[in-house]
């Protein structure tokens, strides 16, 4: 019969061998698991500016359908020591004309705020953000102008999104080009 406890002990020994030296915090250990189990859709990629710091990274979303098809949007993730009991801080670094993302890069996504639960992972956030680009939600907006246009005139909204991604003014705001 399999010796379960000795197997477990071996596994534990194996794990500790992987991270010699400094002891990692709970947040670091958990984010390590999240990153190992990351299952990204083909439209997303993650980038670690510092390979030794898993708590700070970028997510690039390049939607392949919907209003934002062809664009390239960068999000910064900052994972605090309270993770997973507190959600990561996520900001959009690309200026984007979107009802749920304001011009400072704040993102309105329920699981980043009131609906965050510690059983969620980085993967859940990636899928949530990708969903925002497929289905911008004009209710509960952060960019009220964009939300009003989306609600009143879908065609105009589509044109505005295209114009902003090519680089141009929407009202008084200049959007940098973010097409791939």
């Amino acid at each position: 019969m399999i010796k379960l406890f000795s197997l477990k002990q071996q596994k534990r020994d194996g794990e500790t061998v992987q991270h010699p030296g400094t002891r990692q915090s709970a947040a670091q250990l958990r984010i390590q698991k999240d990153i190992n189990e990351l299952n990204l859709p083909k439209t997303c990629q993650v980038d670690f500016p510092d390979q030794d710091d898993l708590l700070t990274f970028k997510l690039i979303i390049s939607p392949d359908e919907g209003f934002y098809r062809g664009g390239r949007f960068s999000f910064s993730f900052k994972v605090g020591q309270g993770y997973p009991h507190e959600p990561p801080k996520v900001k959009c670094e690309t200026l984007v004309y979107h009802p749920n993302i304001d011009l400072e890069g704040n993102v309105c996504l329920n699981i980043l705020r009131e609906d965050w639960k510690p059983v969620l992972t980085v993967n859940s956030i990636v899928y949530g953000l990708q969903y925002l680009f497929l289905e911008p939600n004009p209710e509960d907006p952060l960019n009220k102008e964009a939300a009003e246009v989306l609600q009143s005139n879908r065609r105009l909204f589509e044109q505005n999104v295209q114009k902003s991604m090519r680089g141009g003014y929407i009202g008084a705001i200049y959007f940098d080009r973010c097409l791939k």
Binding site: K3, R23, A26, L29, V119
Partner: protein, 111 residues
């Protein structure tokens, strides 16, 4: 484990089992069998969904702080299990099971 060597042996003579006397010779006689018992925890998942470590191991926080002893497991009425350390932090914000949203009611605590 103690079950390791537990084997039941039984000899079954051909005459004992045969109720029907009309068949004089049996082609097969059962000479011995080995009992094998499998067990698992009566929970839907054996991994704490909060810290993603098996519930029978110590939680991430205790691993990081090297507190191996106090890390017990809590089972809810909903049959979801978590480390007590992980769950008590969550319950400060919300009294529902983070997996199934049912009102959290403690079923058992254990190690």
């Amino acid at each position: 484990m103690a079950d390791d060597e537990k084997r039941e042996q039984m000899e079954v003579g051909s005459g004992d089992v045969d109720i029907n006397d009309k068949k004089p010779d049996k082609m097969f006689g059962l000479k011995k069998w080995n009992l094998v018992a499998m067990w698992s925890w009566d929970v839907e998942c054996d991994t704490c969904a909060i810290c993603r470590v098996q519930v029978m191991d110590t939680c991430l926080r205790c691993q990081a702080e090297n507190k191996q002893q106090e890390c017990v497991v809590v089972w809810g009425e909903c049959n979801h299990s978590f480390h007590n350390c992980c769950m008590s932090l969550w319950l400060k914000q919300n009294n529902r099971c983070p997996l199934c949203q049912q009102e959290w009611a403690l079923q058992t605590t254990g190690k």
